[in-house]
Amino acid sequence: MSLTVDIAHPLAGFDLNVAFEAPEGVTALFGRSGAGKTTVINAVAGLLKPERGRILLGGETLFDATTRVNLPVHRRRLGYVFQDGRLFPHLSVKQNLMYGRRFAPRGAKGPDLAEVADLLGLSTLLERRPGALSGGEKQRVAIGRALLSRPRLLLMDEPLAALDAARKDEILPYLERLRDRAGLPILYVSHSVAEVARLATSVVVLEAGQVVRAGPAEQVLSDPGMVHQIGLREAGAVLTARIAAHHGDGLSELQVSGGRLFLPHLDQPVGAQTRVRILAQDVMLATEAPRGVSALNILEGEVVTLRDGSGPGAIVQLRCGGDLLLSRITRRSAEVLRLAPGTRIFAVVKTVSIARSDVGAG
């Protein structure tokens, strides 16, 4: 089942004009605050009526301005996880979780209370009131509540934005499990590259109400043209890796398509798949195989494109095996090394730069 959005709506300051397709998996709506992300997700939910356009879910029309179809919110069967949780304060956690259950059609497939409580670690909280929960617990209840209404699509509007780093780390693994197990499409609004890199299978980048880029996460995040939207410090590629071995000196060896990477020990079994994010600023380039360097991770590849920044910097996109990498270097270095599309290149990645929190199961 996939979601098709093609809508236009006037907003303060600019017109929202958005068209994209969200396939199965996690589609991240990425952009700065005020880019129109929440407007889009509210239009999909039916909380906002766009001026023009249409929204389809797996062939069913949720909204169509020309034929005046506008399915009411409660009949759309989309689970919505709000940034602020929005638990019902007068109901227990269990009653909150079960609120939407009765409205799901009889045949609708989905997890039951026990499974959801287990998946989200809520089993011991069921009798509590929302007022007695921590921020992270509230958000997990909100996710469980949406899941138990047996939705056809899950909408998540910055579900982690209101939480501190520790709470985020608490919830992200649940979201990953959800993505891998629940088998329903998720539309995920976020302005955090780290979250998008960890969760998204495809990415739609919004800027001032327009889609500036859309595609599979690996491609969008490693697109040098996106560095401006993402931010210089946050720009980087996402690679899918397989855990090849755990070594006695505390390092884990990962296999990527272009070679091997060494990371501080990962808590995953050999053979498991994982995602690695390599920031552009952590990748050095060499035209010859470097010797006598402390960095363990050297991937061989070729330059795909070069893109000059507004300052003295440049972004180089490399292909190493099947993966794309980004490297941020100075324009002067690019000239000295005579980098051009097709140049054979060695990417040097410092081991320590692949931070534990940037690695997710996937």
Binding site: A45, G46, L47, P72, V73, H74, R75, R76, R77, L78, G79, Y80, F82, D84, R86, L87, F88, P89, H90, Y99, G100, F103, A104, R129, P130, G131, A132, R145, A146, S149, L155
Partner: protein
């Protein structure tokens, strides 16, 4: 209690209770609807509706009573219709006293409930509808439980107001013992008679007790409302 109060006095107290309970019981659903509409909806004539609801609070009660007599009297435009269709008579009956009490208490009730509705985050109602709940279901399972203490407080405030209503009642339905002589009318009557002060005083004590009790209960419920909405 019946020994302590004379039969006339007891009659007035009982009538006042009956009139007030009917007045509040029947006008409460309308009050909740009006409060919800004023708090949540925007529609043409909203300010006019707001003004009409609050009019009895501002008008001299005698004027309200006279307007009721004009419209709900046997020959009044509304009164004659109600009589023809349902056989309902308001003028000079306890039903009329209940109507007057309801009209006078209505703005107080609506104000209290409206505050409660405004304190409920509409985002909670949105969340409920994204979970598949139809509008009425959302109202009864989310909005109403959250505003309930405010509704009860409003009803009690309205009840106290209804118990004390005098001007509009005496103008609309007069002061007939056993029929329309409510507690305030009875106090007024006893004070007109030489030597009626002790009777009046006893009724004054009843009035004060009822009013204090109502205020205390509404205070407790208001506090509980705050705790409930915060979800602790």
């Amino acid at each position: 209690m019946t020994d302590w109060l004379g039969p006339d006095e007891w009659q007035a107290v009982a009538l006042s209770l009956k009139v007030s309970l009917w007045a509040i019981g029947l006008s409460l659903p309308a009050g909740i609807l009006a409060a919800y509409a004023l708090a949540r909806w925007s529609f043409p004539g909203k300010q006019l509706l707001n003004g009409i609801i609050h009019l009895p609070l501002i008008l001299p009660p005698v004027v309200t009573g006279y307007l009721l007599l004009l419209s709900f009297g046997r020959r009044g435009p509304v009164g004659s219709l109600l009589y023809d269709w349902f056989g309902l008579i308001f003028a000079f009956r306890w039903t009329g006293a209940a109507l007057a009490a309801a009209i006078m208490a209505f703005p107080l009730m609506v104000r209290s409930i409206r505050l409660a509705v405004e304190s409920v985050d509409p985002k909670l109602e949105q969340a409920a509808s994204t979970l598949g709940a139809p509008r009425l279901w959302v109202f009864f399972t989310v909005t109403l439980p959250l505003i309930l203490p405010g509704v009860i407080a409003g009803a009690i405030l309205g009840f106290a107001k209804a118990m004390g209503e005098f001007g509009a009642t005496i103008t609309f339905v007069s002061n007939i013992p056993g029929q329309t002589q409510t507690l305030p009318s009875a106090i007024y009557t006893f004070l007109q008679v030489p030597g009626g002060e002790t009777q009046a005083m006893r009724l004054v004590l009843v009035s004060v007790t009822v009013a204090m009790a109502a205020l205390a209960i509404s205070e407790v419920l208001a506090r509980r409302a705050a705790r409930r909405v915060s979800g602790a």
